[in-house]
Symmetry: C2
Subunit: 454 residues, 2 copies
């Protein structure tokens, strides 16, 4: 169906195109716009949309399309779209556009909108202030239910949600919340303060957006009031923006845990140079830190060059190091995710370390047994690797055991310590842990081998 529509657009059949578009969801229209190759057609199709749909579609399309549209539209065409947009979307737009576009956007807005945008731009990135909107329904605590419903109806067109109504006093301080459900079920003559829930859960404008997301997930909110230092209601955060935050934070953690600088743009829209920039510094850092493993190996040259035993020991280095890295990565990823979900905190450090120590004993013992058997059977009998004896297999298996224990302890504690020191715990996951565990496990390995085999 998309292809058909795109063909109709290309052949300039605008009337039927309009009829189809106005029936579609704004997010799907945005998707269509992103597939129009010809910039002139793009603008023509966009202009077909009614004003309110246009504003919504404009919020949904990617920044490159937004730029094209802003360039093509006149100030008098752009103005109404900006006015129709929700303030939080308009603020996002201004934050993402280059300076000349921002100028055009602000010039096209009314002075009132311009000043609101400027006010919201001041909230720091990743705080509640940066994702909230000032478009909500507020009623005074002295109002009746009937009057409140009238106010809901009056504001309904211009707010982001009417599902929750916020109650404030004369000084705009938050006093309670009422769901639209309770409002329409209540008797018109009742006072709002009698039916409202006065145990309001709110956050301040500088609360971290991750904390906001955790509260939404804990309390099953649809929207949450945000207040300033004087507890005056200044905005609300809605659940749709929280979903974006949750996905963004998970993406960020996954990126960092893979040693990649996080990037908000979709992969296919990110330039090769930007990808290089996001990946190269981490790889370089990790590569240079491998100098230590290299040093340990060359300092143990007499051990590793020691005939058939040397070859066996050398051939097992990748196995020991990889398994150590994987074991540490398992622990660190589990803890990093636990921190993100609010399940684990720094004060649990010793509980976590004890648990991982017990796990590492179990994992280490079972893996050492398998490792011992594997070396004797697979390497020794099947592949006939030289130097395989019960003694050498036992040394390698014990090195495996100690590597696992070290890896788990390092892997579980570093993310918690990082969190305490206000670093991103995800940085302390996989590649970083691997590098540390490599060094420690090689030291143990060479120490055991030197002590018992030479």
């Amino acid at each position: 169906m998309y292809d058909e529509l795109l063909e109709m657009i290309e052949s300039n059949k605008l009337r039927p195109v309009k009829q189809i578009l106005v029936e579609m969801h704004e997010s799907d229209i945005a998707e269509i716009l992103e597939h129009i190759e010809n910039p002139a057609s793009l603008v023509k199709v966009f202009k077909l949309l009614p004003k309110d749909m246009g504003a919504q579609v404009f919020s949904y399309v990617d920044t490159d399309i937004q730029e094209k549209l802003i360039t093509a539209l006149s100030s008098s065409e752009l103005g109404p779209i900006i006015e129709e947009m929700y303030i939080d979307d308009a603020v996002d737009l201004v934050e993402e556009m280059p300076a000349n576009m921002v100028e055009k956007i602000l010039r096209a807005s009314t002075p009132e909108t311009r000043s609101t945008i400027n006010k919201f731009l001041k909230y720091e990135d990743s705080t509640a202030g940066s994702i909230m909107t000032p478009e909500f329904v507020d009623v005074k605590d002295s109002m009746s239910v009937g009057d409140s419903i009238k106010r809901v109806k009056k504001l309904a067109e211009n707010v982001e949600t009417i599902n929750v109504v916020y109650v404030t006093d004369g000084a705009r301080v938050i006093k309670g919340v009422v769901s639209i459900r309770d409002l329409i079920l209540a008797n018109d003559n009742k006072k709002i303060s009698d039916i409202m829930n006065d145990n309001v859960i709110y956050a301040e404008t500088d609360t971290d957006q991750e904390e906001i997301a955790r509260m939404f997930s804990e309390y099953d909110f649809l929207a949450m009031p945000i207040v300033d230092k004087e507890k005056r209601l200044v905005g609300i955060v809605t659940v749709d923006d929280v979903i974006d935050v949750i996905e963004e934070e998970a993406s960020e953690d996954i990126s960092v845990m893979a040693g990649v600088t996080p990037n908000e743009k979709p992969y296919l829209k990110t330039s090769v140079f930007r990808i290089w920039l996001n990946r190269f510094p981490w790889l370089m850092l990790l590569m240079i830190s491998a100098t230590f493993t290299g040093l340990i190996i060359s300092k143990n040259e007499t051990l590793l060059n020691n005939g058939i035993f040397g070859i066996l020991l050398t051939s097992c280095i990748p196995m020991i190091m990889d398994t150590g890295g994987n074991a540490g990565g398992q622990a660190s990823a589990t803890i990093v995710r636990g921190i993100a979900l609010g399940d684990v905190e720094f004060r649990d450090l010793f509980k976590v370390m004890l648990k991982e120590f017990l796990v590492s004993l179990l994992v280490g013992l079972s893996l050492a047994v398998v490792c011992f058997g594997k070396i004797l059977l697979v390497d020794g009998v099947i592949f006939g690797t030289e130097g395989v004896k019960v003694g050498s297999a036992a040394i390698i298996a014990s090195a495996m055991f100690f590597t696992i224990v070290i890896a788990k302890i390092v892997g579980c504690s570093l993310p918690l310590i990082a969190k305490k020191l206000k670093f991103d715990p995800a940085v302390m996951a996989s590649p970083f842990i691997t590098t540390i565990v490599d060094i420690l496990s090689l030291l143990v390995y060479c120490f055991l081998a030197t002590t018992f085999l030479m």
Copy 2:
């Protein structure tokens, strides 16, 4: 404040405890219950709660507390709680409880609830059916707005949300949706079919929950209708459950990417044995597959035992392998996340491979240059490692280059191929990629060294 309340509970001051509890959010009450040590106090405090709050709190507490409560409550006490719970929560409860508890729950329910629970238990795990609820407001397309509002008020107490009202025809087939906003703004005499949005976006009961989450995130839904094969409305999914799905899916991906079997329980509540079970098989599998790297090394013993060159080459193995693993992990994690967010699909395979090839050329070249310099300067001049010459450094740097190229191509393509074959793409991330890249990079390394140095 929590500690104070817990103290009051311990000293059995139930009346003030009740006064405090009824003012709190159910999720916070659940948290309190989880901190009560004495099982008798737990039950006593729970019984203080009004019926509707009790049901909500019961949905929020962890399964171990649910078990304790079910055991302690009589059938006549348990029944009303089950009836008050949302059906989707009751179904989750039945799914998580051991058989004897399930029996008690079902015996305590009314025949009607029992049959609904049994019907919903049949929907497969991780599908729309498994997370939907049958408690929504539906109106007929022939009804007036006024009558619809009456119906909303009548059902309001017993549905999960009234924010969206669903319009069906005589055969219960979905025809449209109306937001509560449009409903209260419309004239009472209008027909519902005139104000409803008849371009309904819905899903079927067997749609994967990940797909549902993607639709919520794309369309900013608060709730979404779920239909059977005949397009009859059978339930709705609400955004609070979708947030849980999004967090669960991200946790699952992170687990799998770290080589850990996913686990829904919070870390601190998971037993040591269960953690061992979730981690050991992966480590064993990966350890055994390291047999190949071991074989490659022992087959190249003449190269690696070859005096000073051999030691230099051996000492650089960890660096080459780790950097390859990290480079591959970067690509696979990026693509796995892109697949999860719906940004990348299998049909983009060649676009992705081309992009990663270009990235790998940039990363490979820059890293090879740094590697060449690092070996000459750090290893050669600073640490005086023997065997460092321009020729040997150049061989190692070129091996680094080819390793990066191979790692990136393998890392980006395997997750997409896994997705196409209906495997979990996340399995094709870090530890798995590392193992494959280890083998390939060692082969290239030994081939280059043998060809040019011997």
